[in-house]
């Protein structure tokens, strides 16, 4: 394939870290068509070596969907789409084609075999109008009117080549898993953390005998509502970067955050939102090609049936008839790529594309528009975009990963890459700047920074070597986009400690699977 395509892919991989210069909501409502289908809108993808105690040898993968949930959004809350499939893909040989796929297939049904919860009203049994008839405490609670379950399948090789092998729920030897009810409030679910913990299930990966994990441990899965973990000063960013830049003489006013201020002086607009997380924790040895090839690339997609016909006499079970082949409608690997790298006219195309075909998006990477947009907004102050085209700095540094850290192959494509052999950094020691902390400053204006894994404070287990909840990908992206990896002569503000003002740190999150926090309650 590959010479030209490789360069393209490499640039795209870089753009991941680079491009997100301005509008930074990872991938929430990023493409026009996906805004019509929020249930299948992938928003964030995390993949990291597990740092929970006694889980060495496992990789945690989190795929978030259904963005910007208000906790009080009842009565139907935020069920996933039973007519779609949600998938996590792993490429372990570096060709941009999945070698392993984990496929989630959901079902939403009324209780009592589809009848729903009924109450005796004046001598008649009447179906209640709400999804819960009383307090909930466990999976399959009798008070739960709407029940969400799912099956998890594993596909080896191309995702549509064969039917998935369903995994077995070790709790009951079935192939069905329950999804917890959303956090409606403390009267419905008194202790949501305790309630949700019952929906973490053990399973074994079909066709894999894991190595390097604790005896008697298993892979785990959880699907359910979580508090949004992606911190971003969304409103000001999308309002033409309505922020100050004190270092360049633009004093913040009227509540503006400072683009060169402290990491946490702005407002994370997503801090009062929930999200739905599809979480799996898999032995690394079940993801990698073999023990001598520890690097993997991952991404998540969702797909819908190609045709939908609305039912003129809709029912709960059959509001529409959907059929035909699967069509991919959402794709997400590294954060912010489709959000701020891909041009508006091609965002839905990107969502429907596969990594092996990323050459078609090359120009968006080699000649990124976002640094120029930043310059248009702040140029008079000196916030000048890098002048090195094509962005070879990014290509060189991130050509399929960080050299000596997570380069998977010479084939280039957009995906989140993780070296499963890099030891996990304990939560308390993690840097929000991840592997970006592993560069020594440039020697002079003619040179860029140099990678130094022995550098004090270097945290090679973080983004862009995978991505953890506590990695501040927005700040990393801002800096790289404006030329952190270039020399001063080609990137006038390469050394500016750019921030969006919404801080992310590891200690904001739990220290155990699924790592993202208990969702915000809909009522006290």
């Amino acid at each position: 394939m590959k010479a030209g395509r490789q360069l393209v892919g490499g640039a795209l991989a870089l753009a991941t870290v680079l491009a997100p210069a301005t509008g930074l909501a990872s991938s929430h409502r990023e493409a026009p068509f996906i805004t019509k289908n929020p249930k299948v809108d992938g928003t964030d993808f995390y993949m990291f070596n597990s740092y929970e105690a006694a889980r060495t040898g496992y990789v945690t993968i989190l795929a978030n969907y259904l963005p910007l949930q208000d906790a009080y959004g009842g009565p139907n809350y935020f069920t996933l789409d039973p007519d779609a499939i949600y998938e996590v893909h792993i490429d372990n040989d570096g060709d941009g084609i999945e070698d392993l796929t984990f496929q989630f297939d959901f079902d939403t049904a009324l209780a009592n075999g589809g009848t729903g919860v009924e109450l005796p009203i004046g001598g008649k049994m009447i179906n209640i109008p709400l999804p819960a008839a009383g307090a909930l405490s466990a999976p399959g609670d009798a008070n739960q009117n709407v029940i969400e379950t799912y099956k998890l399948g594993v596909i080896r090789g191309p995702r549509r080549a064969t039917a998935p092998m369903l995994v077995t729920n070790l709790a009951d030897s079935s192939t069905t898993f329950h999804k917890p009810f959303d956090n409606a409030g403390t009267k419905t679910i008194a202790n949501y953390g305790t309630y949700a913990s019952q929906f973490v299930y053990n399973f074994d990966v079909p066709g894999c005998t894991p190595t390097g994990v604790g005896s008697g441990t298993h892979a785990r899965v959880f699907v359910g509502q979580r508090a949004e973990g992606f911190a971003v000063n969304l409103g000001q960013i999308f309002d033409l970067i309505n922020m100050g830049v004190s270092a360049l003489g633009v004093t913040p006013t009227n509540g503006q955050a400072d683009l060169t201020g402290a990491a946490d002086q702005g407002k994370s607009i997503t801090g009062d939102k929930n999200i739905t997380t599809l979480a799996i924790e898999i032995p690394a040895s079940c993801l990698t090609k073999d023990s001598s090839h520890p690097i993997i690339a991952g991404w998540t997609t969702s797909s819908m049936r190609q045709a939908r016909v609305l039912n003129p006499t809709a029912t709960f079970a059959n509001p529409a008839r959907e059929g035909g082949p699967w069509v991919q409608v959402s794709r997400l690997g590294n954060p912010l790529v489709n959000e701020v790298v891909i041009g508006l006219k091609d965002k839905d195309k990107f969502n429907g594309s596969e990594p092996k075909d990323d050459a078609q998006f090359a120009d968006y990477v080699t000649n990124p528009s976002l640094p120029i947009l930043v310059e248009l907004v702040f140029g008079a102050t000196g916030a000048l975009a890098p002048t090195a085209y094509p962005r070879a700095d990014l290509v060189a540094a991130f050509l399929n990963g960080v050299p000596t850290v997570n380069v998977l192959s010479t084939t280039l494509y957009e995906a989140l890459r993780l070296n499963t052999a890099v030891p996990a950094t304990p939560r308390a020691s993690q840097s929000p700047l991840g592997a970006a902390t592993c560069f020594d400053p440039p020697a002079d204006n003619a040179h860029g920074p140099t990678l130094d894994l022995a550098r004090t404070g270097c945290d090679p287990a973080g983004f862009p070597n995978g991505r953890r909840p506590g990695d501040d990908t927005v700040d990393i992206a801002l800096r790289v986009a404006m030329g952190f990896l270039l020399d001063q002569n080609h990137a006038p503000i390469r050394g500016a400690p750019l921030v969006d003002g919404a801080a992310t740190i590891a200690t904001q999150f739990t220290n155990a699977f699924p790592y993202l926090n208990t969702p915000i309650a809909g009522s006290p």
Partner: protein, 93 residues
Amino acid sequence: MKRALLIAALLAACGGDGAKPKGDAGPGMIDAPVVMTDAPIDAPVTPATLTSYVIDLVQHHTTGTEASRPFSEFQALVDPDGSNGSAYAPLFP
């Protein structure tokens, strides 16, 4: 009288591989009856109208392994059933 509302929505196939031969759009006519093909599973969809295309797609091509249909295959199909409330009745027996 209750008026049935039927809306067919086709999701454009973006970058799908394994494109099948284009379907025969056919001349089509306003208020023309639905022309059903009798395509076996995995055969290319060859309908006369968007209605028959959708019905065939749903009834005969709902699989986990079949490639999505390219937009070019159905973008020019005529859609004569905007006022035909029973056009998609075969999908709701």
